[in-house]
Amino acid sequence: MNPGLQTYLMVAALLFAFGVVACVSRRNAIGILIGIELILNAAILNFMAFWRFGGMVSEGPNALAGPLFGVFIILLAACEAAIALAVLLSLFFNFGSVDVDAIRQMKR
Protein backbone atom coordinates (compact mmCIF):
# COMPACT_ATOMS: atom_id res chain seq x y z
CA MET A 1 0.00 0.00 0.00
CA ASN A 2 1.53 3.25 -1.14
CA PRO A 3 1.38 5.96 1.52
CA GLY A 4 -0.80 8.69 0.09
CA LEU A 5 -2.26 11.91 1.35
CA GLN A 6 -4.90 10.21 3.48
CA THR A 7 -2.35 8.03 5.27
CA TYR A 8 -0.35 11.09 6.26
CA LEU A 9 -3.52 12.87 7.38
CA MET A 10 -4.41 9.87 9.57
CA VAL A 11 -1.00 9.89 11.22
CA ALA A 12 -1.23 13.64 11.81
CA ALA A 13 -4.72 13.32 13.28
CA LEU A 14 -3.54 10.61 15.67
CA LEU A 15 -0.59 12.73 16.77
CA PHE A 16 -2.92 15.69 17.28
CA ALA A 17 -5.20 13.52 19.41
CA PHE A 18 -2.25 12.38 21.54
CA GLY A 19 -1.29 15.99 22.03
CA VAL A 20 -4.78 17.03 23.07
CA VAL A 21 -4.97 14.13 25.53
CA ALA A 22 -1.63 15.14 27.03
CA CYS A 23 -2.74 18.78 27.32
CA VAL A 24 -6.01 17.89 29.00
CA SER A 25 -4.99 15.06 31.30
CA ARG A 26 -1.50 15.99 32.51
CA ARG A 27 -1.12 17.68 35.83
CA ASN A 28 2.54 18.50 35.40
CA ALA A 29 2.92 21.70 33.38
CA ILE A 30 5.83 20.23 31.41
CA GLY A 31 3.53 17.42 30.32
CA ILE A 32 1.19 20.05 28.92
CA LEU A 33 4.12 21.56 27.00
CA ILE A 34 4.92 18.12 25.56
CA GLY A 35 1.32 17.90 24.37
CA ILE A 36 1.62 21.28 22.67
CA GLU A 37 4.75 20.15 20.85
CA LEU A 38 2.90 17.06 19.59
CA ILE A 39 0.06 19.25 18.29
CA LEU A 40 2.45 21.59 16.48
CA ASN A 41 4.22 18.66 14.85
CA ALA A 42 0.92 17.28 13.63
CA ALA A 43 0.20 20.67 12.06
CA ILE A 44 3.54 20.72 10.25
CA LEU A 45 2.94 17.20 8.97
CA ASN A 46 -0.42 18.30 7.56
CA PHE A 47 1.15 21.30 5.82
CA MET A 48 3.87 19.14 4.30
CA ALA A 49 1.45 16.43 3.15
CA PHE A 50 -0.89 18.92 1.47
CA TRP A 51 2.08 20.60 -0.16
CA ARG A 52 3.52 17.33 -1.46
CA PHE A 53 0.32 15.74 -2.71
CA GLY A 54 -1.59 18.83 -3.76
CA GLY A 55 0.64 19.33 -6.75
CA MET A 56 4.01 20.95 -6.20
CA VAL A 57 4.13 24.02 -8.40
CA SER A 58 7.65 24.98 -9.36
CA GLU A 59 7.06 28.71 -9.81
CA GLY A 60 5.55 31.52 -7.80
CA PRO A 61 5.29 32.23 -4.09
CA ASN A 62 3.46 28.97 -3.36
CA ALA A 63 6.21 26.75 -4.70
CA LEU A 64 7.59 26.01 -1.24
CA ALA A 65 4.55 26.67 0.94
CA GLY A 66 4.93 23.46 2.95
CA PRO A 67 8.55 23.81 4.08
CA LEU A 68 8.18 27.56 4.63
CA PHE A 69 5.19 27.11 6.92
CA GLY A 70 7.07 24.33 8.67
CA VAL A 71 10.09 26.53 9.28
CA PHE A 72 7.95 29.34 10.66
CA ILE A 73 6.03 26.96 12.92
CA ILE A 74 9.28 25.54 14.26
CA LEU A 75 10.56 29.07 14.93
CA LEU A 76 7.42 30.04 16.83
CA ALA A 77 7.56 26.74 18.74
CA ALA A 78 11.06 27.64 19.85
CA CYS A 79 9.83 31.04 21.09
CA GLU A 80 6.92 29.39 22.87
CA ALA A 81 9.12 26.80 24.56
CA ALA A 82 11.55 29.46 25.83
CA ILE A 83 8.79 31.64 27.27
CA ALA A 84 6.92 28.67 28.73
CA LEU A 85 10.03 27.39 30.46
CA ALA A 86 10.68 30.83 31.94
CA VAL A 87 7.11 31.01 33.23
CA LEU A 88 7.40 27.48 34.61
CA LEU A 89 10.61 28.29 36.44
CA SER A 90 9.18 31.37 38.09
CA LEU A 91 6.07 29.35 39.01
CA PHE A 92 8.35 26.78 40.59
CA PHE A 93 10.27 29.43 42.52
CA ASN A 94 7.07 31.03 43.80
CA PHE A 95 4.91 27.99 44.51
CA GLY A 96 7.42 25.16 44.90
CA SER A 97 5.62 22.99 42.38
CA VAL A 98 4.65 22.80 38.72
CA ASP A 99 1.42 20.95 39.41
CA VAL A 100 -1.21 22.98 37.60
CA ASP A 101 -3.89 21.84 40.04
CA ALA A 102 -1.93 23.19 43.02
CA ILE A 103 -1.69 26.73 41.71
CA ARG A 104 -5.04 28.14 42.73
CA GLN A 105 -4.18 31.27 44.62
CA MET A 106 -6.59 33.49 42.72
CA LYS A 107 -9.48 31.16 43.45
CA ARG A 108 -9.73 32.12 47.11
Binding site: A13, I30, A49, G70, I74, L75, A82, A86, S90
Partner: protein, 167 residues
Protein backbone atom coordinates in the same frame (compact mmCIF):
# COMPACT_ATOMS: atom_id res chain seq x y z
CA UNK B 1 8.00 -3.10 -1.59
CA UNK B 2 10.20 -0.13 -2.19
CA UNK B 3 12.59 1.35 0.32
CA UNK B 4 10.53 4.50 0.69
CA UNK B 5 7.43 2.50 1.64
CA UNK B 6 9.30 0.35 4.15
CA UNK B 7 10.82 3.39 5.77
CA UNK B 8 7.42 5.13 5.83
CA UNK B 9 5.85 2.30 7.81
CA UNK B 10 8.86 1.99 10.11
CA UNK B 11 8.73 5.72 10.84
CA UNK B 12 4.97 5.54 11.35
CA UNK B 13 5.36 2.78 13.92
CA UNK B 14 8.11 4.70 15.71
CA UNK B 15 6.21 8.00 15.73
CA UNK B 16 2.90 6.57 16.88
CA UNK B 17 4.35 4.35 19.60
CA UNK B 18 6.62 7.03 21.02
CA UNK B 19 3.93 9.70 20.63
CA UNK B 20 1.52 7.56 22.63
CA UNK B 21 4.22 7.04 25.24
CA UNK B 22 4.82 10.80 25.40
CA UNK B 23 1.13 11.43 25.92
CA UNK B 24 0.25 8.59 28.31
CA UNK B 25 3.42 7.72 30.19
CA UNK B 26 3.14 8.01 33.93
CA UNK B 27 6.59 9.50 34.47
CA UNK B 28 7.36 12.91 33.01
CA UNK B 29 11.01 12.02 32.33
CA UNK B 30 9.94 9.04 30.26
CA UNK B 31 7.48 11.20 28.35
CA UNK B 32 10.21 13.71 27.50
CA UNK B 33 12.51 10.93 26.27
CA UNK B 34 9.72 9.46 24.12
CA UNK B 35 9.16 12.88 22.60
CA UNK B 36 12.74 12.66 21.33
CA UNK B 37 11.86 9.64 19.17
CA UNK B 38 8.66 11.27 17.95
CA UNK B 39 10.47 14.39 16.81
CA UNK B 40 13.24 12.40 15.11
CA UNK B 41 10.60 10.34 13.28
CA UNK B 42 8.91 13.52 12.12
CA UNK B 43 12.22 14.58 10.55
CA UNK B 44 12.13 11.30 8.64
CA UNK B 45 8.63 12.14 7.38
CA UNK B 46 9.86 15.48 6.08
CA UNK B 47 12.62 13.76 4.13
CA UNK B 48 10.07 11.37 2.61
CA UNK B 49 7.80 14.29 1.73
CA UNK B 50 10.59 16.03 -0.11
CA UNK B 51 12.04 18.75 2.06
CA UNK B 52 15.49 17.98 3.39
CA UNK B 53 15.87 21.50 4.78
CA UNK B 54 12.86 21.16 7.04
CA UNK B 55 14.16 17.81 8.31
CA UNK B 56 17.51 19.34 9.23
CA UNK B 57 15.76 22.29 10.86
CA UNK B 58 13.60 19.89 12.83
CA UNK B 59 16.60 17.96 14.09
CA UNK B 60 18.62 21.06 14.99
CA UNK B 61 15.92 23.24 16.55
CA UNK B 62 13.38 20.74 17.88
CA UNK B 63 15.60 17.89 18.98
CA UNK B 64 18.67 19.96 19.75
CA UNK B 65 16.97 23.01 21.21
CA UNK B 66 13.40 22.66 22.39
CA UNK B 67 13.79 19.13 23.71
CA UNK B 68 16.93 20.07 25.66
CA UNK B 69 15.01 23.02 27.08
CA UNK B 70 12.20 20.66 28.13
CA UNK B 71 14.74 18.36 29.77
CA UNK B 72 16.13 21.31 31.68
CA UNK B 73 12.63 22.13 32.83
CA UNK B 74 11.99 18.53 33.89
CA UNK B 75 15.21 18.29 35.84
CA UNK B 76 14.98 21.72 37.46
CA UNK B 77 11.43 21.25 38.66
CA UNK B 78 11.64 17.60 39.55
CA UNK B 79 9.04 16.86 42.19
CA UNK B 80 6.68 13.92 42.00
CA UNK B 81 3.46 15.67 41.06
CA UNK B 82 1.99 13.04 38.79
CA UNK B 83 -0.38 10.98 40.88
CA UNK B 84 -3.13 8.84 39.50
CA UNK B 85 -6.58 9.62 40.73
CA UNK B 86 -8.14 6.42 41.95
CA UNK B 87 -11.70 5.33 42.27
CA UNK B 88 -13.14 6.65 39.03
CA UNK B 89 -12.12 3.82 36.72
CA UNK B 90 -15.61 3.36 35.29
CA UNK B 91 -15.73 6.99 34.25
CA UNK B 92 -12.33 6.68 32.58
CA UNK B 93 -13.43 3.55 30.73
CA UNK B 94 -16.61 5.18 29.45
CA UNK B 95 -14.71 8.31 28.47
CA UNK B 96 -11.99 6.51 26.56
CA UNK B 97 -14.42 4.25 24.70
CA UNK B 98 -16.58 7.22 23.74
CA UNK B 99 -13.65 9.31 22.56
CA UNK B 100 -12.11 6.49 20.55
CA UNK B 101 -15.46 5.82 18.84
CA UNK B 102 -15.99 9.51 18.10
CA UNK B 103 -12.49 9.88 16.78
CA UNK B 104 -12.81 6.83 14.53
CA UNK B 105 -16.04 8.20 13.12
CA UNK B 106 -14.60 11.66 12.52
CA UNK B 107 -11.41 10.31 10.95
CA UNK B 108 -13.33 8.04 8.62
CA UNK B 109 -15.80 10.73 7.69
CA UNK B 110 -13.42 13.61 7.15
CA UNK B 111 -10.25 12.06 5.87
CA UNK B 112 -11.42 9.12 3.82
CA UNK B 113 -14.53 10.59 2.25
CA UNK B 114 -13.45 14.10 1.37
CA UNK B 115 -12.42 14.54 -2.27
CA UNK B 116 -9.02 16.07 -1.58
CA UNK B 117 -7.35 17.94 -4.35
CA UNK B 118 -4.55 15.59 -5.29
CA UNK B 119 -2.48 16.07 -8.37
CA UNK B 120 -2.29 13.04 -10.61
CA UNK B 121 1.40 12.87 -11.40
CA UNK B 122 3.72 13.53 -8.52
CA UNK B 123 7.14 14.85 -9.41
CA UNK B 124 10.07 13.18 -7.72
CA UNK B 125 11.20 15.22 -4.72
CA UNK B 126 14.44 17.03 -5.33
CA UNK B 127 16.51 19.36 -3.22
CA UNK B 128 14.90 22.79 -3.17
CA UNK B 129 17.39 24.49 -0.91
CA UNK B 130 18.52 27.25 -3.36
CA UNK B 131 14.93 28.24 -4.13
CA UNK B 132 14.08 28.22 -0.42
CA UNK B 133 16.95 30.56 0.36
CA UNK B 134 15.96 32.95 -2.40
CA UNK B 135 12.33 32.96 -1.26
CA UNK B 136 13.20 33.56 2.40
CA UNK B 137 15.16 36.65 1.37
CA UNK B 138 12.71 37.60 -1.40
CA UNK B 139 8.94 37.14 -1.21
CA UNK B 140 9.03 36.01 2.41
CA UNK B 141 11.46 38.64 3.68
CA UNK B 142 8.98 40.41 5.95
CA UNK B 143 7.71 37.26 7.74
CA UNK B 144 11.31 36.08 8.02
CA UNK B 145 12.45 39.30 9.69
CA UNK B 146 9.36 39.35 11.90
CA UNK B 147 10.08 35.80 13.03
CA UNK B 148 13.64 36.76 13.89
CA UNK B 149 12.39 39.78 15.81
CA UNK B 150 9.90 37.60 17.70
CA UNK B 151 12.67 35.20 18.63
CA UNK B 152 14.80 38.05 19.98
CA UNK B 153 11.90 39.48 21.97
CA UNK B 154 11.11 36.04 23.41
CA UNK B 155 14.68 35.54 24.53
CA UNK B 156 14.75 38.94 26.22
CA UNK B 157 11.38 38.26 27.83
CA UNK B 158 12.45 34.83 29.08
CA UNK B 159 15.63 36.25 30.58
CA UNK B 160 13.57 39.01 32.22
CA UNK B 161 11.06 36.54 33.67
CA UNK B 162 13.61 34.35 35.42
CA UNK B 163 15.97 37.10 36.56
CA UNK B 164 16.97 37.46 40.18
CA UNK B 165 14.72 40.01 41.81
CA UNK B 166 16.51 42.87 43.53
CA UNK B 167 15.06 44.26 46.68
Amino acid sequence: MQGAQISFWLITALVLVSGAAAAFSRSIVRAAYSLFFTLAGMAGYYVLLGSDFLAITQVIIYVGGILVLLMFGVLLTNRPVERVRKGRLALYAVGSVASVALMGFVLNRIIQQTPWHESANLPEPESNLPLLGRMLLGEYLVPFELAGMTLLLCLIGAAYLVRRKER
